[in-house]
């Protein structure tokens, strides 16, 4: 009995050590932060701050009134103490941006950006000025977007890439047409909250037949303590268009939980394709995950038109708790939905993540490849739904969910829900579980490979299939992140 315990003790000890979260710095700058608390007045104040039109305020109020009647959900396999929503502030922005989005996101005019904020993004490696990088960036700091690059160039193609706040002003018809159509305010508790106090996010519109010439990306930075970040993103790909969109994020080290409840809606029209990639590295908290980000996100896309395609690719390594199910509603005939995910949990992190693939149209296809890595005392859960409606003639799904356990105190769980209401459907589900143990590490060491390299090699081998789906820059970052998340504890 004792020898079994010693076998994993080393690994557990190694992985329990504190990793250095590089992004854990805090930016000190003049900010305007609302007093804590949420009520109808706060919702109105947020809307006023952003100079929003009546319809947007109505949208918020409707959502808020509904939210008040709802109950905070705890069905995920992730324990968290009920949040005191009155103990958060629902708006915080660097002061020079406080006059609304107008001056802060004046396209390429970098002088409007608070220098401390600019420094923060520089430290994070996020390019907020138009430059060499062949990537457009929307930089979001707490409740507002502070910079959106490459807009002129994109405008030449008719592409709209701006902050959500700006879109409400400059493209109200588009926003009104799509907001809440994929994730209605009553969808779930956090979607309702988000709809009421949405801070900022990204708005993307790709016109018909246009292949976006560069990757579009958003970087979310939470800075102010005890604020929640509620970003709202809408991405529309009109007929025959293509876009690859990347999302990155980080937050400073804090000692109490921070809430991030985002809503992302994606609409893909006929013959269009959207590739949506996320590398999530929110602050996970200390050894006990105290002070980490609670990442409760509703991401959903609808493949509206025939032959449309939506791919979600994610590498999740941060957060104290991750609770999200990027999903695809496959309405259009021949539409394709894909979900590639690597979710890593260490120390006491908890993740309950997966996807929903809803097949409605004919000959629709979905692919789900989920890789869960658990280490330390963490819990990693895959929760997936494959739903084939009666109308979904010839639907096909392939799901593979693999778990890897590192050490002996972590957990991996799988909850696949498969509901098939059409006899012509073909649904495949495979699941594997494996463990990295002392024996494997020693085997590698005895062949001349260091323990660090061994863990890295084994983990990368495990995640290969998913990493190959990430855009190049992201794939590199994801691999590094994974290595740091596991390795920061080795030696």
């Amino acid at each position: 009995m004792e020898t079994v315990e010693t076998e994993y003790q080393e690994i557990n000890d190694l992985l329990a050590k504190n990793k250095h979260y590089r992004e854990g710095f805090e930016t000190k700058t003049k900010v305007e932060t609302f007093d804590k608390g949420i009520n109808e007045d706060v919702v109105r104040a947020i809307s006023a701050k952003k100079n929003e039109p009546e319809w947007m305020l109505d949208f918020r109020l409707k959502a808020f009134r509904h939210w008040e009647k709802m109950q905070e959900p705890h069905w995920a396999k992730a324990k968290y103490t009920p949040l005191d929503y009155q103990d958060y502030s629902y708006y915080s922005a660097p002061e020079c941006g406080a006059c609304g989005d107008a001056c802060a996101t004046e396209g390429d005019n970098a002088t409007a950006i608070d220098p401390e904020v600019a420094k923060a993004f520089a430290a994070l490696g996020v390019p907020i000025e138009d430059g060499e990088a062949n990537i457009a960036v929307d930089a979001i700091f707490d409740s507002i977007s502070v910079s959106t690059t490459k807009r002129e160039e994109l405008e030449k193609h008719g592409i709209i890439f701006c902050s959500f706040s700006e879109a409400v002003h400059d493209h109200p018809e588009l926003v009104q047409q799509y907001i809440g159509t994929v994730v209605p305010y009553h969808d779930n508790y956090f979607a309702a909250l988000n709809s009421a106090v949405a801070s900022d996010g990204t708005f993307v519109y790709i016109p018909p037949g246009v292949r976006c010439p560069m990757d579009l990306s958003t970087y979310f930075r939470i800075n102010e303590a005890k604020t929640g970040q509620f970003e709202r993103t809408i991405l529309i790909a009109d007929k025959g268009s293509y876009v690859s969109y990347l999302e990155g994020c980080s937050a400073p080290v804090r000692d109490s939980y921070q809430l991030h409840a985002a809503v992302v809606e994606v609409i893909v029209h006929e013959d269009a394709e959207v590739k949506y990639s996320t590398v999530q590295n929110w602050y996970p908290g200390d050894d006990d995950c105290e002070g980490g980000i609670l990442n409760f996100v509703t991401k959903r896309g609808v493949c509206e038109g025939a032959n449309s395609k939506l791919s979600w690719t994610q590498a999740e390594t941060g957060s104290a708790i991750t609770w999200k199910y990027p999903s695809c509603i496959l309405k259009g005939d021949n539409s394709i939905g894909e979900f590639y995910s690597v979710a890593l949990t260490n120390r006491r992190q908890q993740a309950d993540t997966g996807t929903k693939m809803i097949h409605i149209g004919k000959n629709t296809r979905s692919t789900v490849i989920s890789k869960g890595l658990s280490a330390g005392k963490s819990d990693n859960t895959y929760r997936g739904q494959v739903k084939i409606l009666p109308s979904a003639e010839g639907a096909r799904n392939f799901t593979q969910c693999d778990s890897m356990l590192i050490g002996d105190q972590c957990g991996a769980h799988t909850f696949p829900y498969i509901e098939v209401e059409n006899a012509s459907a073909m649904v495949e589900h495979e699941a594997t579980t494996s463990r990295i143990g002392e024996d494997q590490l020693f085997y590698c060491q005895q062949r001349g490979i260091s323990e660090q390299d061994a863990i890295s090699m084994i983990v990368n081998g495990f995640c290969k299939e998913v990493f190959s789906e990430l855009p190049l820059e992201f794939a590199q970052e994801a691999e590094e992140l994974l290595a740091i998340s596991l390795e920061g504890s080795v030696g």
Partner: protein, 254 residues
């Protein structure tokens, strides 16, 4: 002298149970030494201690390997300096191809020797030579390390790795356990193909049969954590004939 083990004493770290009680062993380049002995004598412990497994703690003695203090080195450092352990139960590493695994290992050893790393193509050529030499399956490189391999295939994979890494000292920890006659012969052929004046072997085994195929230069009997008798090949035959009883009687209270 390649390996000089002097008065090696070691215990199980967790329980502090003493296993090696002053073991002495000298191995010169090019020699094949067989270590035999009854169960619990410490044969596998010796192999583990030499390889650097942390489950065991060395309490006294010294081990000199090619002019260096072996006990001072991490397991991967020992490996890079030319020490190879063929495991009794090779583990599986899913998701990692034999190719990636061996390329990483080979380059780690080359790095130690100051040689340039092999890229994918160079490695492919290099590996192909060895695959042919050992008559392994061509798809070996693409498969994940030991995943779905039979017991015999795993042992042969270890020999293949030995061929790629070209170690100075190969410790074979009960390689024959779990093998049928044919597998045994194949493993032995592989080992014999790798014998050279620069390479030494320590073959740890229960049974004499393996030694019919891999003829040792020296045979040692390990009992109660130390080597109690040494001889040439005829000692192995003698043990086959008489068993360990006599030796145990002689040394029981030592």
């Amino acid at each position: 002298m390649l390996l000089n083990v002097q008065n090696l004493q070691a215990q199980v770290e967790e329980t502090e149970k003493q296993i090696l009680n002053g073991l002495n062993l000298q191995v010169n380049p090019g020699e094949v030494h067989a270590i035999m002995g009854p169960n619990g004598a410490g044969k596998s412990t010796l192999a583990s201690v030499l390889a650097g497994r942390e489950d065991y703690e060395v309490t006294a003695g010294s081990v000199d390997f090619d002019g260096e203090d072996l006990l001072d080195l991490d397991p991967e450092e020992r490996a890079r300096k030319g020490l190879f352990l063929a495991f009794q139960y090779p583990v599986e590493i899913p998701g990692v191809s034999n190719k990636l695994f061996m390329q990483t290992a080979v380059n780690a050893v080359r790095d130690e020797k100051g040689l340039p790393e092999l890229d994918m193509l160079d490695f492919d050529e290099y590996a192909k030579e060895k695959i042919e030499l050992l008559e392994m399956r061509n798809d070996l490189l693409e498969r994940s390390v030991n995943v779905g391999f039979s017991g015999g295939e795993k042992k042969r994979n270890d020999i293949f790795q030995m061929a790629l890494l070209e170690p100075k000292l190969c410790i074979m920890d009960e390689t024959d356990s779990g093998l049928d006659i044919d597998a045994l012969r194949t493993v032995a052929n592989g080992v014999n193909a790798l014998r050279s004046p620069e390479r030494s072997f320590i073959v740890v085994t229960h049974y004499q049969r393996l030694l019919d195929y891999i003829k040792p230069d020296h045979v040692h009997v390990l009992y109660n954590g130390r080597i109690v008798k040494s001889g040439g090949f005829e000692l192995a035959l003698e043990l086959e004939e008489n068993g360990y009883d006599e030796i145990i009687q002689q040394h029981k209270d030592a």
